[in-house]
């Protein structure tokens, strides 16, 4: 744990090396040329499925919809029992009891957004109560949002304190800290917010809520992967990364996995340390998976819509 007085936090974050935007884009473009074919593709698709946080975060969510999605999370491809389960189901806090019943005993984690998701514009008491209720109802993972206003105004201490308080409330549940990188605007900010969250105890850093654009991008994920890699090197503690929002195709997913492999390293190629927050991605992964097995694409009606 670093010295967390406001001045020291600021110094700590300002001492981080800058991020050169042009260089980040160049590296991202270079990694995107990696060719993942045949056996590599097969392995990567299954790994990607196992890394999916299958998500529904809509005002219109109902118990029926959440139960259906839980079924899909446990058995993504009804026609093919060899298709692995996803990593987690991600829902709003009030849907946690429904999801917990549906997922019981399946091994699929239950993630709940909390802390006044997505804007986080509420008091710390409410954020903690939100978190506590979700955990009590059976959430094994909490996806919190940081106070972007506080971060942008330079009040790093406030952001830090909120994360530590939420972390404490989480108890055994793993904490994912959503930076909402689309609102942080610069890669320097993404790097600072990543380190701030990691210092405050985040188990995962996550790009976005999916409610603002741009959501997850490859360059932002690159900067965050560098942060967890360097943090691990500096402290010995490993944390995960979760890009979320806008990842729709198998090709996108492959690019993320290539980036994890080459930037953070093979140690992060595990659902415990990398997740893909997505909903429609899963069907494309299943479609590509079936194509590798059968040699042809089945129509979209052979995959469930949820």
């Amino acid at each position: 744990m670093p010295d967390t007085t406001p001045g020291s936090l600021r110094t700590l974050l300002r001492e981080l090396p800058g991020v050169d935007e042009v260089g980040v884009h160049r590296r991202t473009a270079d990694l995107a040329t990696r060719s993942v074919k045949t056996t590599a593709k097969r392995a990567a698709i299954d790994l990607a499925i196992r890394m999916v946080d299958l998500t529904t975060l809509e005002g219109a969510d109902t118990p029926g919809k959440v139960s259906a999605l839980a079924g899909k999370a446990m058995r993504p491809d009804p026609a093919d029992p060899t298709a692995p389960s996803v990593a987690a189901l991600c829902v709003y806090p009030d849907m946690v009891p429904v999801a917990a019943r549906a997922l019981a005993g399946s091994g699929v984690e239950l993630a709940s957004v909390a802390t006044g998701f997505p804007a986080g514009r509420t008091s710390l008491e409410v954020k903690l109560a939100d978190t506590g209720a979700a955990v009590a109802a059976g959430a094994t993972e909490i996806d919190m949002v940081i106070d972007r206003g506080a971060f942008l105004s330079g009040d790093y201490r406030k952001v830090f304190d909120e994360i530590t308080a939420v972390k404490e409330t989480c108890g055994q549940a793993r904490l994912k800290v959503i930076l909402e990188t689309g609102e942080l605007a610069t890669y320097d900010n993404v790097r600072r917010a990543s380190w701030l969250s990691l210092h405050a105890g985040a188990d995962f850093i996550k790009t976005s809520t999916g409610k603002t654009a741009p959501a997850a991008t490859l360059p932002v994920t690159l900067v965050m992967l560098e942060a967890v890699r360097d943090y691990h090197l500096a402290t010995g503690r490993r944390a995960g990364v979760k890009p979320a929002g806008g990842i729709r195709t198998t090709k996108d997913a492959m690019r993320y996995l290539v980036m994890v492999k080459e930037v953070a390293g093979d140690g992060w190629l595990d659902p415990a340390w990398f997740r893909l927050g997505a909903s429609t991605l899963l069907n494309d992964l299943l479609m590509q998976r079936a194509k590798l097995t059968t040699g042809h694409y089945a129509g979209p009606d052979y995959y469930t819509i949820d």
Binding site: V19, R26, V36, L257
Partner: protein
């Protein structure tokens, strides 16, 4: 976990003939000299094809054709018409991009991802750029009606065979000159493919003549009395020889020679991107790059951290089959070059520097050298002074900006340099003091046809590319 499966680009897209003749006056003609050269694939040492080695009679024939084409066809042609031919050549290069990329990889040993993403697209870009100049030369700043020089004798190296051909031929043709070009002994195949492209584009006979061969052919080409202009890219040693041969003849000469580029990393640099820049600076094209960042000058206060990151990064480079789309480091171009790299690396160890390479499997056949980093290097070491032209980085440290600049400039060469800092004023201060033809700011090895390229001191003279590059071909 997943590992990349082999992803080889198919070589069936190229058909290499067993034997090639010389390209003179728009046709492939049998050489009068009966000397032949075998070009091999450096990745497996298998022969690819046999090419002619042009003798003096062949060189004469090529210059006669070039002179005739210059006087009767090419120089009288309006610029706009010349431009159309260049555009057409560019288009055919783009259409045949995949074939050219595979052929270049096979003949040179460089990874397909580089030929596909750099060599071939940039070669096309050079023709497009210069096609645009062809009808605007009156506005290039060289007088109201600049005239072509005549017949250009051009000799190019093996490190970027097609790209260097484009750098030489595109400006010469755009400005109304005709060309006799000799590709490198070990990499003639894409130049011969380019000869076919000239035919396909219906370029008038004699405008481009391509003579394959070794050093003897090169000497005959640059010393030919009918050459009005000589352009050479290659080693400083051969450059000196050419300068002596051309001296006093009144012929124009541009030389693009060796380098020992410094990559200066200040303590406030964007470190992860600097690491990428260092890697692409020295390991791009196996370090067979005249403007490679072969000397890393890193500020002492961050040296340890930067080197740790660099080693991790280098450990993830993939060395192997140049045709595999995931290969980062291909084969060394020739046995002779491999010997040179080995000799200098051994000298590095013998002089007290310490070399490091990642554990990477080396193929059994072919010419390979693992990416290597030397630390504990001083200015006095041969590996800090001599051009290695291989994947070998020499690391030196500095304490102050003055020291960085002094060390960077302390070389007989002056082709390229890189500076990494997040502070704009320090960037400008440093760049303005570096004696190098190209200074990259927070990047390295970026090329664009609009940007002039060339050196100071023993790195040669004259510029290629951009408006400045036209000057060498205009009177």
């Amino acid at each position: 976990m997943f590992e990349y499966a082999p992803a080889p680009e198919s070589r069936s897209i190229v058909s290499i003939r067993p034997s090639y003749d010389l390209f003179i006056d728009g046709e492939f003609v049998e050489a009068k000299s009966d000397e032949r050269i075998v070009t091999i694939n450096p990745a497996d040492e298998e022969p690819l094809a046999e090419v002619a080695a042009a003798g003096e009679a062949d060189v004469d024939r090529a210059f006669t054709a070039a002179r005739r084409a210059f006087e009767r066809v090419w120089s009288p042609l309006p610029g706009a018409e010349r431009g159309k031919y260049l555009f057409r050549i560019a288009r055919i290069i783009q259409e045949r991009a995949r074939e050219l990329a595979v052929l270049e990889s096979l003949d040179n040993g460089k990874p397909i991802k580089e030929t596909r993403d750099v060599d071939v697209p940039l070669a096309a870009a050079h023709f497009i750029y210069h096609a645009g100049w062809a009808d605007k030369l009156a506005h290039a700043g060289f007088g109201p009606s600049p005239r072509p020089v005549g017949v250009a004798a051009q000799v190019i190296p093996w490190n970027f065979p097609l790209l260097m051909l484009a750098w030489k031929i595109a400006p010469a043709l755009a400005t109304g000159n005709t060309v006799v070009l000799k590709p490198a002994e070990t990499t003639p195949l894409t130049a011969l493919a380019f000869a076919e492209i000239c035919q396909e584009a219906e370029l008038p006979p004699g405008v481009v003549n391509i003579l394959t061969g070794a050093g003897g052919t090169g000497r005959a080409v640059v010393a030919h009395p009918d050459a009005d202009k000589v352009a050479f890219t290659g080693s400083t040693e051969v450059g000196r020889e050419i300068a002596r041969a051309v001296a006093g003849t009144g012929r124009r000469l541009t030389l693009e020679l060796g380098g020992k580029g410094a990559n200066i990393v200040y303590d406030d640099a964007a470190m992860d991107q600097a690491v990428e820049g260092i890697v692409s600076g020295i390991f791009f094209n196996q370090g067979h790059v005249c403007c490679a960042g072969s000397r890393l000058l890193v500020q002492e206060s961050i040296a340890e951290e930067l080197l740790a990151k660099l080693r991790t990064r280098i450990s993830r480079l993939r060395l192997g089959d140049p045709l595999d789309k995931n290969t980062d480091i291909g084969a060394i171009n020739s046995a002779a070059q491999l010997d040179r790299i080995r000799e200098l690396a051994a000298a590095g160890e013998a002089e007290g520097a310490s070399g490091w390479s990642p554990a990477c499997p080396i193929p059994e056949r072919g010419y390979w050298f693992p990416p290597t980093v030397f630390t504990g290097v001083t200015q006095a070491h041969r590996i800090a002074r001599e051009e290695i032209f291989g994947p070998v980085l020499s690391v030196l440290t500095f304490r102050t900006p003055e020291e960085a600049v002094a060390k960077a400039n302390n070389t007989p060469y002056g082709l390229s340099a890189g500076v990494w800092t997040e502070k704009g004023s320090r960037m400008l201060w440093t760049a303005s003091r570096l004696r190098a033809g190209v200074v990259w700011s927070n990047t390295f090895n970026m090329f664009d046809p609009a940007s002039p390229f060339g050196g100071y001191k023993e790195s040669g003279y004259g510029r290629e590319g951009g408006r400045h590059g036209l000057e060498a071909y205009l009177d």
